[in-house]
Amino acid sequence: MTALGKLFRTTTFKLTLVYLTVFALFAAFLLAYFALNTRRLITEQITETVDAEITGLSEQYRLGGIRRLVIVVDARARRPGSSLYLVTTFAGEALAGNVNALQPGILDNPGWTETTYRRLDEAEQPEHADHPEHEHLALARVFQLPGGFRLLVGRDLDERERLYHIIVDAGRWSIAIVLVLGLAGGLFVTRRVLRRVDAMTETTKTIMAGDLGGRLPLAGTGDEIDRLAENLNAMLERIEALMHGLKEVSDNIAHDLKTPLTRLRNRTEQALRNATSEAEYRAALEATIEESDGLIATFNALLMIARAESGQSGDMREFDAAEIANDIGELYEPLAEEKGIALKVEASDAAPVRGNRELVSQALANLVDNAIKYTEPVGEAVNRAEGTMPEIVVRALNAGDRILLTVSDSGPGIAEADRSRVVERFVRLEQSRSKPGSGLGLSLAAAVARLHGGELTLEDNHPGLRSVIALPRGGPVQSTG
């Protein structure tokens, strides 16, 4: 497609053409109407004047006969810019008047006629004498006077024609100018719009080719194209963020799962090499299943974190955080007790919050699980005695516009320097890794809190750790691009 063809094909240009045609037609119609009406009006005025003069002159004739008429006509004919007058005998001999060179036979037909003429006074001026174009057009009326005399009164039509031509010329010029300017303006606007659309198309192409960092250009005028570009840019921003998140997550998953897979592979290989009895093979297989179960659990947790981090909240609804605190407390209480830890729940007031109940439950469960895992019983001999048991307290609190789910333990806690690091995936502070766990519990809790527009904070419980999931009461604030 040529550049010009592209230009003509644009909506803007087509619109320009339609408007131009409509305007030109309208202007032509208006001017034609104006010109014709002006012409008609002037003609009417002329006939009225001529009629009045004829009435006046025939009155003079009636009062004073041909002599008086001749005198009056003579007098009137001499006035500058006067009408045309001619009084003739029956035979056509001119008695008075200021007209010459009438077309032959005009005087034989009484009534209105358009005729060319030449003024007598003009004929006297030599510089005009040889100009045949000084024959003028006139509208005249021939009147038969009683007694055989004929009276012709007329008015020059030049003025009418000149006016008519001025209007018609003005019309032609204005339409031409409208067309030229309109077309030029249309082309200008179209090219401007086209340039912007072309720039947008170019950017879209580079984006489609894989460069998600591209943004549509803005003209800064705040017009509809800018607004469209702004919205598209916001959309691109969101897409880029999602793609980035997705890439990061898949990179992490690939990295995080390769380690346990390698371990699994090494173990089976070792069994294949070294095992001699059926019992040894069986043990190796059982270990393999156990390891793959752990792998599945890790994978599920990673997937869940990924989903939460990418903002896929699933089923969001109103629920009571206090109820969750009680439920999770009840679920873990026997486990804690078995370890010689007292698990208490302080959640008497309803703490309504909007979110994904299942995810929040799991986040809290992870915190409680951690607290139980890392709280050491005081000592075998004394830990059963009332009052000396270490305590874990689960609370659901209303704090202004936020709901806090807290788990406080009296375990070793986490040094302040490590608190932000421990939330990252697979970070376990304990170097020996003797405690069970995947290192994903806190990551998930943090991801769930962020998904709900809240946060996970780890605080010092003097001694021990206090983990807090803070959730906004109304659920996550929907960000509108």
Binding site: A297, L303, G314, D315, L331, E358, Q362, K373
Partner: protein, 225 residues
């Protein structure tokens, strides 16, 4: 028990058919949605095991079509999509249970057996296993002549176990049905709840009723039989 396995992965389908036959069930396999639907239309199966993503016709559509034709064979959905939302979608489409892949065979077997039993079974108000008796209306539990006091959650746990007496009940099934959680707690909290319940109903009696099935889960049954 007759089972129909609708699964497009032939290896997985063969493995399941073989495994179910080993434990004494009859199992057929279909490899796509259309075949599966045609076979299930006969209505001669006790339980359907349906993969969610199938060629020709997806698993949810197979179950939905069966349900509109009033074929109420219980169906268990297998799916790689394991999120709560996916589960809800599956159950809403007419599935009776939902098991995310990968699964262990013991888990699948336990769930299938529970499904087969649930179908056509009626809800009794008093559950009995041996000399253990649970009244679902008055919430009273007694063993022999002795009244046993249970916490509400312990009651629900025992109720679920007794409803499926002589069947293996897995930890995940308990977590789903008694606690209504679908996530995997990192530590096995269920075991502790079971041992607490066991100390209440079995302690001091010569005949234990609540048994641990190694590698699978738990079962309550009258040991005398």
């Amino acid at each position: 028990m007759r089972l129909l396995i609708i699964e497009d992965d032939r290896d997985a389908a063969d493995y399941l058919v073989k495994a179910f036959r080993e434990v004494g069930h009859i199992a057929d396999a279909a490899n796509d949605g259309e075949d599966g639907l045609a076979m299930a239309m006969d209505g001669q199966y006790d339980v359907l095991i349906v993969d969610r993503m199938l060629p020709k016709r997806d698993g949810l559509s197979v179950i939905g079509t069966l349900r509109t034709k009033n074929i109420e064979t219980p169906a268990l959905i297998l799916s790689a999509l394991g999120q709560v939302d996916d589960r809800v979608k599956g159950l809403r489409a007419g599935g009776d249970d939902y098991l995310p892949k990968p699964y262990s065979f013991s888990e699948l077997l336990a769930r299938v057996e529970v499904l087969a039993r649930r179908h056509g079974g009626r809800e009794e108000t008093v559950l009995r296993v041996g000399d253990l008796e649970l009244d679902r209306l008055s919430h009273q539990v007694r063993r022999g002549s002795e009244e046993i006091t249970l916490q509400p959650r312990e009651f629900r746990l025992l109720e679920y176990l007794m409803k499926h007496a002589s069947q293996v009940v897995t930890r995940t099934m308990l977590l789903e049905n008694v606690w209504d959680y679908h996530f995997d707690p990192q530590t096995n909290v269920i075991d502790v709840h079971i041992s607490r319940l066991r100390s209440k109903i079995d302690k001091g009696f010569s005949q234990p009723l609540l048994h641990t099935v190694r590698g699978a889960g738990y079962m309550i049954r009258d040991g005398a039989r």
